[in-house]
Symmetry: C2
Subunit: 584 residues, 2 copies
């Protein structure tokens, strides 16, 4: 038996108990005549004491020779601490050690195992097993486990069945790039790793499984952006005999349950916003509604004067920055530079100060009088003391630019409090999205999403206008879930594939099994998937997902700890009927 | 709203309620003036009725036109059934339908959707989504979900944290063949899919995670035997600061919990059997102890006469077959043929009938007298009416042969009742196993398993004798779990790698990260993994795992439903810096 208790549970009630503890040496303080050692495990820290009066010389020497991160076992007596530490649960006691065994020594760790470490990202990733000893990472992983378990409990109680779908499936050129897996037994053929269990969960609905969920790894071989991982985890769900309303209710319930159980936050009914309104009011299909600063469209009150920049713009749109009139000229100039950065891409920014006396001072006073500016304030909801920021240009671009500005300003104003949670549904997404480069439409959600009733005909005449039975769950400016009511008949699915540029042969080769399945009594069905990594990070009050993943990969898709990927033997390649074909 | 109730919940208390149901047409009976339709969903079957007196002509015609597996929605009133069916929960009522909507038609399914189907294995796999509609498959998947959820609940309550480990890891030539995944971003390099999260869970222990579990997919590219899948699911567990005893207790607790919650069976303390004793008593390291028929070693009482076959054998060993004296000569001859089949491989079988009067009649009466045979009966525990079957030869071979015979006879005698559960631990496995082909030793469990204390030295002199801190959990003749106390220091691990034939460079290249980790304060740790597919099948009282996997692959590793694996585009290959190198 390595321990009678863990390092987080002994308190004053245990005084005089004989205990055995095991753990890591967090740190020690050596005063010569007395040595204190902080012993750490997953559960907490317990102070050990060795002193001249009560400990043997050998034992004190043993304690003095302990290094950071040594793994030790001690036997001793719980005693009251002279100077108590009210900040930790074990702060009232310490262990007077009678026996010390070093279970394993440790080299000096390459960074300190403390909440604020001196280790940079790269070194912490290489020694991830040491990084996990730090509370911020350890607690994030424990938090993730708790969230997953709460998801499972909730959905199981709602009658959902967790079904494991296969990982070795078939590659489809549609969508993102697949990771593929050469088959040794089927020469020249490949499996693909799933980007999501989409078709399988639909087949489970055809199979009568009724309510399905799975917490499942998914894979995308995409060029990685910051905070993207080649493998990621989804809470994947599907229901049969449902309409959009049923799905929204069930998964709003799940999200409410998580916020309550995990964060202790009670949220009533989630607001619902049409996609078109989200774009109009926030320039963004995943608006952060923890704060206002809604867009005011100014075309009607800004295109009647001689200001060509606005007059030639498709959209003139502004936001009121609360208290922004306090910004100095220099600060405003910096804001203008900020929106002109290539990442944002605005050509310039017009502003109007809202003075406390009700007057206005704008950067375009040459063109607009006080009455004009008062209307801008009215439309953007600006109050005295605010600053109105106005961008103009192509509608889609200018909305994206103003959205970026809105988020940046909210961040600076401290309006994005990670302890505040503001979920909402964005509904009625477009079915198709125009790829500006190719001029082709592709599925905004995926090719299995059903159009709104009666809109199928619009596909021929006005494809960009067709709305889908598709919805996203947004939390604090992040899409945490998305889904749709699916197509469940072969004819509609064939029309969709045609409009997405599949030939009949391609559709049959890739999704023939699904179209076949639709002919054997497919029920109406729909579902949704949550991105677990992001969901957990947001619930945990963090911006980045990396600390919520035990062994993440870097931006080149490498695991720097185990040094993967790596070359394989020629023999292995030959067995797989493959040869390298290096470009360099 | 597609339904107010499901098809399994309406009973007499709902009579006169207006309801809406949706589901599949299981079957219909058309008497002309009255039509009954069985409507099925995941939850059950509800009878619908349409008749001349109470239903419109159009409605009756609609009902008459329904085919099997049509998906329909009906509105109607719950009424009392004239002839009740006590076999189903809804058997007291039926629905007098007022409105019928066909939600989706169905082609005639290629096999009947019934408990006993007319479909063969191949067609059922191709149309797996239809097979899943059948109760035996559907119930197996629901059962699996329940078992998984119980595992998670139990381990979470015990303080285990579920941590997701990566799927894209590094290939290691040790052990079974890996599936590999070419990396596009790291030219000429490959990830491997994990055969188990072994090294990661050990690193989590080094990381202080203390108690880890995960229900996780694992992958092995092996030539498939019947009932093996290239992807399979493990309940993977690891604990720090534990000895073998701690692990056995925790996972005995888990298994007991499952047997109780899932099967309603109470099992006290599991027996523990030394590996050596398991081999001696059952010829098998996963003995089925639902019945006796333990081996009796007969060397001392069978090698003193002039019977060369026995005298030249390393081992003479027998079992008593209960009631076996009733076998005819012909039946016994068949048994002899059975043990001589190449799959078993015995050269012959000696037997001795135990007559009711206490006398014996053996196939070797020429050599052995009644006193000899009485001793055989004593050693094998044979009683009057039994049959003693004796095999002889090389110890390891003859044990395996007699074990096969024991299992076959028990099967015939009905002693392998799937509703009876007899778990046990087999402990003290050998550390190494001799590969008869190569003459090399390899790790019996895996290279991270620790030898028993003080046995490290034996590695040089007598490697086959070294025992490991390794244990298997056996249930009804199947290994359902196995694990070990791990090596946790770099030196011992290096010695192990050396004995397994790794050069220092190979060990460093493949497992350097683990050896490094052991230098930074690795705690003593150990763990175990259950094979979930098999565990669920056995708890479910089945022999084969296939119905407990939603979308299994066939013996060539193919998913015949989606037709995977499949060729991929040349473009995709080029992107991955690969070329095909076909042998044929």
């Amino acid at each position: 038996m390595f321990r009678s208790h863990n390092c987080g549970e002994l308190t004053a009630v245990n005084i005089n108990t004989e205990v055995t503890l095991s753990g890591w040496v967090q740190k020690s303080r050596d005063k010569g005549f007395i040595v204190w050692v902080d012993l750490r495990d997953r559960y907490g820290i317990t102070q050990l004491v060795f002193d001249e009066e009560r400990s043997s010389k050998t034992l004190i020497e043993q304690a003095q020779n302990l290094g950071r991160e040594f793994v030790i076992q001690v036997k001793g007596t719980v005693i009251e601490r002279a100077s108590k530490n009210p900040n930790i649960p074990t702060g009232d006691i310490e262990i007077l050690v009678s026996k010390l065994t070093v279970l394993n020594a440790s080299l000096l760790p390459p960074f300190t195992i403390e909440d604020k470490t001196d280790g940079g990202e790269d070194i912490r990733m290489k020694y991830r097993y040491l990084d996990i000893r730090r509370n911020p990472v350890k607690d994030s992983l424990i938090f993730r486990s708790k969230v997953s378990q709460e998801v499972r409990n909730y959905l199981s109680n709602e009658g959902f069945i967790e079904v494991e779908t296969p990982y070795l499936i078939k590659s489809t050129p549609e969508g993102a790039r697949d990771f593929v897996v050469p088959s040794r037994m089927n020469e020249g053929q490949f499996y693909a790793l799933p980007q999501s269990p989409q078709t399988f969960k639909q087949l489970l609905m055809v199979g009568g499984m009724d309510k399905y969920f799975q917490i499942v790894k998914c894979f995308r071989d995409e060029d990685l952006r910051a905070d993207r991982q080649p493998e990621f985890t989804q809470i994947d769900c599907e229901m049969a005999f449902v309409e959009q309303e049923d799905i929204l209710n069930v998964f709003e319930g799940l999200t409410r349950h998580l916020l309550k159980e995990v964060n202790g936050v009670d949220i009533k009914k989630f607001p619902r916003l049409l996609f078109d309104d989200a774009m109009r009011l926030y320039g963004n299909d995943k608006p952060d509604i923890r704060f206002g600063m809604e867009f005011g469209e100014l075309n009607a009150v800004a295109q009647h004067k001689d200001f060509g920049v606005f007059n030639n713009a498709e959209l003139v749109v502004g936001i009121a920055v609360p208290g922004g009139n306090s910004y100095t000229r220099k600060e405003i100039d910096k804001l203008v530079s900020w929106v002109k950065r290539p990442q944002v891409g605005a050509l310039g920014m017009v502003y109007s100060r809202c003075n406390d006396d009700g007057s206005y001072k704008s950067s375009v006073d040459k063109f607009y009088d006080q009455d004009d500016l008062a209307k801008w304030a009215e439309v953007t909801g600006a109050k005295p003391g605010d600053l109105i920021c106005v961008l103009s240009g192509d509608k889609n671009k200018v909305r994206a630019q103003l959205s970026a500005l809105r988020m940046e300003l909210a961040e600076r104003l401290g309006l994005r409090d990670p302890k505040v949670f503001a979920p909402l549904w964005v509904i009625d997404f477009p079915l198709l999205e125009l790829d500006e480069e190719t001029g082709h439409y592709h599925a905004m959600h995926h090719p299995f999403t059903s159009p709104k009733p009666g809109q199928l005909e619009l596909l021929d005449t006005n494809p960009g206008e067709v709305k889908a039975n598709a919805y996203d769950l947004v939390l604090n400016g992040n899409e945490i879930g998305g889904g749709s009511i699916r197509i469940h008949d072969k004819e509609t699915q064939a029309i969709m594939f045609k409009h997405l540029g599949f030939t009949e042969e391609e559709a049959k080769a890739q999704f023939g099994f699904l179209m076949d399945a639709f002919q054997y009594g497919a029920p109406p069905h729909g579902g949704l998937a949550f991105g677990l990594d992001r969901l957990v990070a947001i619930l945990g009050g963090q911006e980045t997902i990396r600390d919520f993943i035990a062994f993440p990969k870097n931006n080149s898709g490498r695991d720097v700890m185990i040094d993967a990927p790596a070359p394989i033997d020629d023999e292995q390649l030959t067995e797989l009927s493959l040869k390298l074909n290096l470009k360099s």
